[in-house]
Symmetry: C2
Subunit: 256 residues, 2 copies
Amino acid sequence: MNAARHCRAHSGRTIIERLSTMPTSPVDEQHTSNISYEVLAVIGGTGPQGKGLAYRFAAAGHRVIIGSRSAERAIGTATTIAERIGQSNIVGMTNEQACKEADIVVLAVPFAGHSELVEELAPFLDGKTVVSCVNPLGFDKHGPYGLTVEDGSAAEEAQRLVPGARMVGAFHHLSAVTLWGDSETLEHEDVLICGNDDHAKAAVSRLAQHITGRPGIDAGALRLARQLEPLTSVLISVNKRHKVTAGIRIAGLAHV
Amino acid sequence: MNAARHCRAHSGRTIIERLSTMPTSPVDEQHTSNISYEVLAVIGGTGPQGKGLAYRFAAAGHRVIIGSRSAERAIGTATTIAERIGQSNIVGMTNEQACKEADIVVLAVPFAGHSELVEELAPFLDGKTVVSCVNPLGFDKHGPYGLTVEDGSAAEEAQRLVPGARMVGAFHHLSAVTLWGDSETLEHEDVLICGNDDHAKAAVSRLAQHITGRPGIDAGALRLARQLEPLTSVLISVNKRHKVTAGIRIAGLAHV
């Protein structure tokens, strides 16, 4: 496990050693007996979506690192979440540190500046499972719409910039409001997952289960991120018209 | 109502007169008391999706015209549906005739040849509510994917070719198998509707209600067809991986 490797590699008591020795709550252990205890970094973890995901992962017992350009802000958000869940299995660092320490890196950043950030972090993402939740959206007087992305999608852009990453697209449609809300399990929503690496997708599917109570749905190849990412524009449009917080559920999946 | 106008305009007993005097079943009248009795043409009504939609609309009591390049094939499909539902409120005609006679025209045709067909039918679509269910999809060894459409989507292409049509995108995600299946109401699925004309969207929402038991969901402007159309590639991909017939349900809509 990477966490152990990092513990040996660093002198002194690293933040990952702190995370590794932190007990998760007995309640969470019961509910998440199949947790593999990967260390998750949430890049953009101080933004609404990243914070919501980090909260859900930490509450489920994962060791979570909030990444931000500013270590101070990352620590602030991590503290807020730790206080909310009454557990200390979440810490804050710079994005670069967070990527270095993590087994799985979740990119929950705005599309503006996405390619520059991924390029900067590329050396630390190589070989890792990287989950893109990035939604390239535009807004004008007619409402939200999907931006044209040269690589097809943000996830494919990230894959081009880090060819050695096991890139997965997921968690695009869980709203920040719902993630940060009080519902224990978001059982009315589904997490659609795309990617070209089945092992990485399986790991992300387990993460999804900690949020919705069910495994994520393997939707196919990474290029389907071209559909999953801008679908968020439809949900935002529905929210606006119907005064709700809409999510996606796949119907007809009783046999999965 | 257009049907009446057509009856006066034609000499002899037109097919629309036949449709207009056909009783719908008492059961359907009960279940669909708010039917406005528009005449619906389903262009491409001999294909799997068109046939399934025509079946659902006719079973709900609407007067339906199956349109096809070949009147003979259209009549064949209409007869099959009429026999299945034990009602005679469905007939077959050429696409051109069907458009002429209808109040609402549903385009359920393949994307290949779409622009040529719409161009050909444009004079008969002008001023009418036109519902595009067209899914511009490609398939290769990696599975299904959304095609790049110069106008953004098939619905926008049709709108460009018939600027005077009240264009709506809807019914993209109901599978042919489910539509033609035995479930009385497809209550586990939602119909997402996009368009720039609120009256036309409201009419299509009522049509959706006859299929799912609930009004369709207004998803926003017509350009969101860019998201709705290729989303079908995700559903087909999910079907293939999970051996199911997947559909879309919007979560979190309790307040609608």
